[in-house]
């Protein structure tokens, strides 16, 4: 391929060899055909430690093309080590444009968040998944969990929620909250906060999940029903905060709690850094924007706004 001839890298386009990409695409097709079903695939070594997103990066490598625009987020932020490294990896190996703007991206690889800006048709959301099997903590035998998925025996999952309510009065699972996809398979949505669960439901974008270490791929096609498990008398609820984002004043976004001094001071800021910046650029201001600590938080993410070479 002409790309390899550029001299910058001896690797094939998007790092993986074509045969591997074909294998991953086959797994992806099967995963899309059976929403929520975990398809085994031959996970490869990547120049990244297992557990740092090797599943997601392999899926991205298999679906990316030169005309794509890539956005990578880690816990909602565009500027953390993992996000920056993976973005640069694809800049170098796939010569794609990268962006921080959710609406500009055609592929968004994410760890632990779904962007606040609504996803659009045609976009692909690639999740990095550490633990694809939602039943694993309850049933250690792989053979048995496969049967449970195959026969749709999901009472045990409900027992886990029951135990939560019995002990704490509510379901205390706040991330990786199990969902039922397309009325059939129970699926681990990767460790996104349960705040993001409703965004998966009937989403117009294609959602792909890759677990590199566990060698599993699964998917949610566009416009698919995704329901968070609950009880009739203890319905599913998402997190809420008593205050808005300290920087941009958003009341509808997922907030991170940030400790700002050693006297117990703290503030809440949007975990989606691009969403927060966009709102500030539009003139929204949170109560903490003038604060000294807020200055460093807001500044920390500005350099990433500069255009990349």
């Amino acid at each position: 391929m002409s790309f390899a001839a550029q001299g910058d890298t001896p690797y094939n386009y998007a790092y993986l060899d074509e045969q591997t990409k074909r294998m991953i695409r086959r797994a992806l097709l099967k995963a899309v055909a059976i929403p929520g079903y975990q398809v085994p695939f031959g996970s490869r070594e990547m120049p990244l430690a297992r557990g740092w997103g090797t599943g997601g990066i392999q899926i991205t490598a298999a679906v990316i093309g030169p005309s794509d625009t890539l956005k990578v987020i880690d816990q909602g932020a565009d500027d953390t080590t993992n996000a920056v490294s993976i973005r640069r990896f694809f800049e170098r190996t796939a010569s794609v444009k990268t962006t921080e703007a959710t609406h500009e991206a055609t592929i968004i690889q994410t760890r632990h968040r779904i962007p606040e800006a609504p996803m659009q048709a045609g976009q692909i959301l690639v999740y990095q998944v550490p633990m694809p099997e939602p039943l694993r903590k309850l049933e250690p035998r792989e053979l048995e969990t496969r049967k449970m998925h195959g026969f749709a025996e999901y009472g045990l999952m409900q027992v886990r929620l029951y135990e939560n309510i019995a002990r704490f009065g509510e379901v205390t699972t706040t991330y990786d909250y199990p969902v039922r996809v397309n009325g059939r398979h129970i699926m681990a949505p990767s460790p996104i906060p349960k705040f993001d669960n409703p965004k998966m439901d009937m989403s117009p974008c294609l959602q792909l999940f890759g677990a590199g270490r566990e060698k599993r791929i699964y998917a949610i096609p566009p416009h698919t029903r995704v329901v968070s498990l609950d009880f009739e008398d203890h319905p599913f609820r998402i997190q809420s905060w008593k205050q808005p984002c300290g920087l941009c004043g958003a009341q509808d976004s997922y907030l991170d709690e940030v400790v700002i001094d050693d006297a117990g001071g703290r503030m809440f800021v949007c975990s989606d850094s691009h969403y927060c910046e966009t709102r500030r650029a539009e003139g929204h201001a949170g109560p903490m924007l003038g604060h000294q600590a807020a200055g460093t938080l807001a500044a920390a993410s500005t350099p990433a706004k500069e255009p990349r070479p």
Partner: protein, 270 residues
């Protein structure tokens, strides 16, 4: 004595609930159980007695769908009046469903039958959630009711089985099985490992439950006193084969087979 007519031709109260036909299971050269045939009638409690290694547990595992017999068939009437199902011809999915709804298995060791890191309420409620109950309040209500019925204080509903005594664990296991209103219960040495006073309470409880619910039950035991108290009919096994069957009192008071005579005379009298 062993019915040779198809149970499907029998009508009404004449129909057995479970029918075993020449059930055999081998472990390589050795016999687990061989050529066991019997009918179990609705509301009947059948005891299987015999010494250790006589094939009692092997037979129970075959009858309850855990192990596939090497020969013979096990026919089961899942709902009154329904056609008999050969449980090993069913797809695994349906068999597993039967095992969780239409019948129950009480294991000798509560650890095999309970989830030790799930609370008592969760253990009892699991079968309800399996069949699709999604109302926390009602599941909890049913769990409380069943704990009370097996004489576990309702206040201990959120304790884990580890925090229970052996007798309580065994009773919890029974509640967990009975909550889904099964038609048939298999018990493997339900009183094994319990001291005699706890045994007596458990036996009382079992007797009341079996009579109240009109359950059919198959109880495997090596304890003839348990058999006398709980069972209507006895099957005596030796070396994997049934050597004598009959009404419990008849078998125990007037044993015909030499081995049964040995067994009954071996009971210690206090």
């Amino acid at each position: 004595m062993n019915a040779l007519v198809s149970p499907n031709t029998l009508k009404g109260a004449l129909r057995p609930i479970l029918s075993a036909r020449s059930v055999s299971r081998f472990y390589g050269e050795r016999i687990g159980c061989a050529d066991v045939s019997f009918d179990l009638w609705p509301g009947e409690v059948l005891g299987i007695v015999g010494e250790s290694g006589s094939g009692k547990s092997t037979l129970l595992r075959c009858l309850s769908g855990i192990d596939r017999p090497d020969a013979g068939e096990v026919l089961f009437e899942a709902t009154p009046g329904a056609d008999f199902l050969e449980i090993f011809d069913l797809p695994e999915q349906d068999r597993r469903h039967l095992m969780r709804t239409a019948w129950g298995i009480v294991h000798q060791n509560p650890r095999d039958g309970l989830r030790m890191d799930v609370s008592a309420g969760g253990n009892v409620g699991e079968r309800l959630m399996d069949r699709g109950d999604r109302h926390y309040g009602r599941i909890r209500e049913a769990a409380t009711e069943w704990l009370t019925r097996v004489e576990i204080e309702a206040g201990r509903i959120d304790d884990r089985p580890r925090q229970f005594s052996g007798g309580m664990q065994q009773r919890l296991q029974i509640a967990r099985v009975l909550v889904s209103n099964p038609r048939l219960v298999f018990m493997d040495e339900p009183t094994g490992g319990l001291d005699v006073s706890v045994q007596a309470r458990l036996l009382d409880l079992l007797r009341v439950l079996v009579r109240d619910l009109g359950l059919a039950a198959i109880i495997v035991t090596h304890d003839l006193a348990v058999a006398r108290l709980l069972t209507d009919r006895l099957m005596v096994m030796k070396d994997g084969r049934v050597v004598e069957t009959g009404l419990t009192d008849q078998v125990l008071d007037d044993p015909q087979h030499a081995y049964t005579q040995l067994l009954t005379s071996a009971v210690l009298a206090v």
